[in-house]
């Protein structure tokens, strides 16, 4: 993945990120050596089921995981020429909400109920951009307008409970966008919302990306949402990055048995209806064990002896970036197209 990169240098480069949690049952290996990067203006989707480590990965980027029990044991997060993991807490605070905006899953709990929406919008503007109160208020109103909240000026003095779920998520997006971030990280931003409201938010994000052109990381468990908005997609399973590809390659030609199985289990809305749903047998992994074998092996129909002994390394299945295409990477010992174990090399 580090070979030639198209047009621009990445604005974010994550290398070998490892985060563990110390619990009474032992060490939980939540993120096991994840590497990825992001270019300007790109939208990277991260998909995975609960416990796959997708949230912990992005929380670790800004050290938003509670430490302890969490510990970032290794990794490098290069953003704007600096390693975020090496920054002190005051420098980090300048990045959080300033250069990198965050939208969390639950719009009901991520806004403070005792402060007005205007206050919460103006806070980062005053702190990060040093605007005066009057300037901040003006910009706050402009931001609410940008995210499609009607009569924005009047609503600045309202409290979060006076907004509906979809409107609250719009406010969260406005706050995240307030300081013109270079990167916006959205952690399951539409999961708590109804489909028709989700459609509104997706439409808004498409519009904002066109207007503002910031890079985005979008975490979700919904393969449908990612298909509609992402440029590239990462699939995570058991704390590992198992597949990475452009959105078309990933859905058109999935290379990891997990991705393939996951796409097959989904009932479809339009194509022929199968009599029975395909299933992935077994349970997601517990992550308490040291990652010494492929986490998907117990549920994989192709698993063979090597999968139980070695953690799979990342293989690039197309020409990769050198070809001018998005590299299609898969962490699997089995070559699903050849139907045979992969050659090393």
């Amino acid at each position: 993945m580090d070979s030639v990169t198209p047009s621009t240098a990445p604005i974010l480069e994550v290398t070998d990120l490892r985060t563990v949690f110390g619990t009474r049952e032992g060490t939980v290996h939540a993120v096991n050596g994840v590497s990825f990067h992001l270019h300007e203006g790109e939208l990277l989707g991260i998909v995975g089921e609960s416990g796959s480590g997708k949230s912990v990965t992005v929380m670790s980027l800004l050290k938003l995981v509670p430490m302890p029990p969490a510990e970032i044991v290794s990794g490098r997060v290069m953003f704007n020429g600096r390693d975020l993991l090496k920054l002190g807490s005051s420098d980090l605070r300048r990045v959080r909400g300033g250069e990198i905006g965050f939208v969390f899953q639950d719009p009901m709990t991520s806004l403070n109920p005792v402060f007005t929406v205007g206050y919460q919008l103006m806070e980062p503007l005053q702190k990060h951009l040093g605007l005066s109160k009057a300037e901040a208020r003006k910009r706050a109103a402009a931001l609410l307008d940008l995210v499609g909240i009607p009569s924005a000026v009047d609503r600045l003095d309202d409290y979060p409970h006076q907004f509906s779920g979809g409107m609250r998520q719009r406010v969260m997006i406005a706050i995240a966008l307030s300081c013109d971030p270079k990167l916006l990280i959205a952690d399951e931003p539409t999961t708590a919302l109804d489909v028709t409201i989700q459609a509104q938010i997706l439409e808004l994000v498409r519009k904002l990306r066109q207007e503002l052109g910031m890079a985005m990381i979008w975490i979700t468990h919904d393969l449908g949402v990612v298909a509609g908005i992402a440029d590239r997609v990462i699939v995570m399973y058991g704390g590992l990055l198992v597949e990475h590809a452009s959105v078309r390659d990933l859905y058109g030609n999935p290379q990891h048995p997990y991705t393939r199985a996951l796409l097959e289990t989904l009932p479809s809305l339009d194509s022929t209806r199968s009599k029975r749903l395909k299933t992935i047998f077994g349970q997601p992994p517990s992550l308490v064990a040291e990652p010494t074998s492929c986490p998907f092996a117990p549920r994989c129909q192709f698993a063979f002896d090597r999968c139980w002994k070695e953690n799979p390394s990342i293989h690039t299945t197309n020409g990769g970036w050198a070809d001018g295409r998005v590299s299609h990477d898969v962490a699997c010992w089995w070559d699903i197209d050849q139907g045979a174990p992969r050659d090393d090399g």
Binding site: E49, S50, S164, G166, M167, D194, V195, T196, I197, Q198, A199, Q200, L202, E203, H221, D222, L223, G224, V225, V226, A227, G228, V247, R248, Y251, G252, A261, L262, L263, T265, L266, P267, S268, L269, D270, R273, S274, R276, L277, K278, T279, I280, F281, Q283, P284, R299
Partner: protein
């Protein structure tokens, strides 16, 4: 079991509905002030009618707050309906009380949404599943133990787990325990209230397949409540779409998904993201404006008129009638043809 299967197919042949719901309403009072005076009502379910035939699955879809869960609960008499009728096996159960009500309870059961909250953490799996059996005093001693084992087998769990506690199981396994409990009394009708919403994608398919197997095996009839339109398409024979306390469209699965008639159904279907980037890029999304109005203060005229892309003056004045536009195809919209 064969006898049950024959019974099920018999019932299907006669096609006498197992459950009839007629103009069912469930209004919750809103109290406020120190005197707790009633200041309004939330019209959670506001006049719905439908039939469920034996052995079929009726899918009930809608967004949060539309009244779909309340519908399930009123039918099972977990709430007392404000007005209307629920008729099970030809018997009106809306006003049954005490012992009479208790006697029909085993006929209808429920599978709940959250498998973490619906199982008592202090009870073993065995006692959770045998509780309904004890309650209705059907089996005792070793017969009961055998029955619990049989049920665990039926839902794909190892019978040796009877002495374990719910926390020792994963979400999908807990949902299986909840299903075993619902099956304990040999019900005819089960309300599945978002049974897969709390589960991971890879586990959802397992539970849905189990529900379908059990339906075939025991001739069960389901009311399957969900907000997941693709899953409803898979599991349901007929689909009812709910909006703000009313059913706006009810038809066979293929009709609803193939050619939806109500503008809300059309918008809802177009809003579901499809896991295929090529399709997603081409597809037209109908993005509805605004939010769901409050069921305490529904708009005048058609409930959907505030967000409807084709609403006209008549929609803001007159509530559309619930009519059958083709055999077996019901819509409540002035403009549906």
């Amino acid at each position: 079991m064969t006898a049950e299967m024959i019974m099920a197919s018999d019932r299907q042949a006669t096609s006498e509905p197992l459950l009839q719901v007629r103009d069912l309403k469930m209004h919750f009072p809103i109290h406020a002030g120190i005197l707790r005076r009633q200041i309004g009502t939330i019209k959670a379910v506001d006049g719905i009618s439908f039939d469920i035939r034996p052995g079929e699955t009726l899918g009930l879809v809608g967004e949060s707050g539309c009244g779909k869960s309340t519908t399930g609960r009123v039918i099972l008499r977990l709430y007392n309906a404000t007005s209307g009728h629920v008729i099970l096996d030809g018997q009106d159960i809306t006003d049954l009380h005490g012992e009479e009500l208790r006697r029909i309870r085993p006929r209808m059961q429920m599978v709940f949404q959250d498998p973490h909250a619906s199982l008592n953490p202090r009870m073993t799996v065995g006692s959770i599943i045998s509780e309904p059996i004890d309650e209705h005093g059907i089996l005792k001693g070793s017969d009961k133990t055998d029955r619990v084992e049989e049920l665990l087998n039926a839902v794909g769990l190892d019978p040796k787990y009877t002495n374990r506690y719910p926390h020792e199981f994963s979400g999908g396994q807990r949902q299986r325990i909840g299903i075993a409990r619902a099956l304990a009394l040999n019900p005819a009708f089960i309300v599945c209230d978002e049974p897969i919403a709390a589960l991971d994608v890879s586990i959802q398919a397992q539970v849905v397949n189990l529900l379908e197997d059990l339906q075939e095996q025991f001739g069960l009839t389901y009311l399957f409540i969900s907000h997941d339109l693709s899953m409803i398409r898979h599991i349901a024979d007929r689909v009812a779409v709910m909006y703000l306390g009313k059913i706006v469209e009810l038809a066979s699965r293929d009709d609803v998904y193939g050619a939806p008639k109500h503008p809300y159904t059309q918008a809802l279907l177009s809003a579901v993201p499809v896991p295929n980037p090529l399709v997603e890029a081409e597809r037209e999304h109908i993005v509805l404006e605004g939010d769901l109005p409050s069921p305490a203060n529904p708009p005048e005229g058609c409930n959907f008129c505030t967000r409807c892309p084709i609403a006209t003056d008549i929609c803001r004045k007159e509530d559309p009638v619930w009519r059958e536009i083709e055999p077996g195809r019901h819509v409540a919209c002035h403009y549906a043809v």
